[in-house]
Structures are given as C-alpha cells and as structure tokens.
C-alpha cells in the first residue's frame, strides 16, 4: 500500500516537503527505517510517529485510510 505521510516543523525542512510518499508501507517500523534510509540526516534526529493522531509507542500495522504523521519535538507555548 502506498501512503502519504504528513511531516511537520524542522523535520519537514530537512525532508524538503510537508508530505512524503512511501510505497508498501506495511507498518510503522517500516516507515521509520525507510525515512532514515532516504534521509540519513534524520538518524539521530528525535521524532515521533503518530497514526490517526495517536502516539505509536510500538510497531503498528498500517491500514488503508490511516493518517500517518511524523512529528519533531513539540515547542508550543
């Protein structure tokens, strides 16, 4: 399955876009590995992955229609 991932803040700056497309995105670990392989600068960059606006703390399968986003550390306030 090909999905479009939303990217925010400094992460979007590094990737060069607010969106990033991944082919065969089976689960969140796959997405993370693929991201780091495409953008090696992100290896030591802290980010979290959210699926349907919920934090994902362990590997999670991606379903059709899931909204996936990559978020750098928050800086509100």
């Amino acid at each position: 399955m090909s999905i479009t991932i939303k990217i925010f803040g400094q992460l979007a700056e590094i990737v060069g876009s607010n969106e990033w497309h991944v082919q065969d995105a089976s689960d969140t670990n796959f997405i993370k590995e693929r991201l780091i392989s495409d953008f090696p600068k992100l290896k030591n960059f802290p980010f979290v992955i959210v699926v349907n606006k919920k934090f994902v703390n362990q590997n999670q399968k991606i379903q059709t229609g899931d909204v996936v986003a990559l978020l750098p550390p928050f800086a509100g306030g």
């Binding site: 939303k6 925010f8 803040g9 400094q10 959210v50 606006k53 928050f74 800086a75 509100g76 306030g77």
Partner: protein, 148 residues
C-alpha cells in the same frame, strides 16, 4: 462524546491584551468564581549564536493539536474543581514581546486555579504538536526548543 463543547484554541497571530481584558470582563457575571489564574507566554528576543530572535512563526498539526487541547481540557476539568477554562495559542508570526499563549482558569478557591493553570501549561508544552521557527533579523531561523 464529551458534554463540553469543543472550542477552537488555535488563533491567527498574537493574542492582544484587549482580548485578554474582554475575557476577564466576561467573567464578572459568574459570581461563584473567587480566583482566576492566567498564564501568558510571551515571545522572547533570545540571542542564539549571536543573532537576536525577532519573531516566532508557529505551525501546528492543527487537527491533532485541537484534539489534544480538548483532551487536556477534559482532563483538567476531571482533576480540578473549576468554574471555567479558556485556552488560546497563536499560529503564524508572533513578534518578540507579543503573546502567543493564553491560559485562563477560574475556580471558587485559589488552590484549584493555581494547580489547574500550571497543569494545563505543562500538558500543552509536553503533548500538543506545535512548533516555533525563531526568525532572526537577517531572515535566517532556528527551531525553538522548549525547556522547563
């Protein structure tokens, strides 16, 4: 579903002192309130690598941010005895010296207002997907990092 209606927290640009005054004035009809605690986040002109911050340009994962703000609201009402609570956070450019966060909590007795206001601010900093690009005078930027 929650009983309390969802309010939009994210607003465009800086939060004006007059807006804060209006919010305060609206509470004069709620005469069970004895204590208000208001937290305001103001943009600092920090010096980073020899350059001075002129403004912060805020972005957010808006749908998720509003959802998180709503969760924080529900958690705060569950945890503290409050009369009411209002939260506003800026999106877009906010100049140094201007206000980007307005947390307003009201209760009968002061302990609840103090505890709740602080709880809300800490929750926002930790859990709401908002980012700030610190803009320098030469149009370069760095990314805001929150501290305690």
């Amino acid at each position: 579903m929650s009983e309390k209606k969802k309010r939009k927290v994210l607003v465009s640009g800086a939060i004006a002192p007059e807006f804060i005054a209006n919010s305060i004035a609206k509470h004069s009809s709620k005469t069970t309130i004895g204590a208000h605690d208001i937290f305001l986040g103001q943009v600092r002109s920090d010096v980073i690598g020899g350059k001075t911050v002129q403004a912060i340009d805020y972005t957010a994962y808006e749908e998720m941010a509003e959802e998180k703000f709503h969760e924080i609201r529900e958690a705060t009402f569950a945890k503290f005895s409050l009369s009411c609570m209002h939260v506003y956070h800026s999106l877009g450019a906010v100049k140094a010296g201007e206000i980007s966060l307005f947390v307003f909590v009201s209760s009968t007795h002061r302990a609840d207002a103090f505890d709740a206001c602080r709880f809300v601010v800490e929750e926002i900093k930790a859990n709401v997907p908002i980012w700030g690009k610190e803009i320098f005078e030469d149009a370069t930027h760095s990314w805001k990092v929150n501290t305690n």
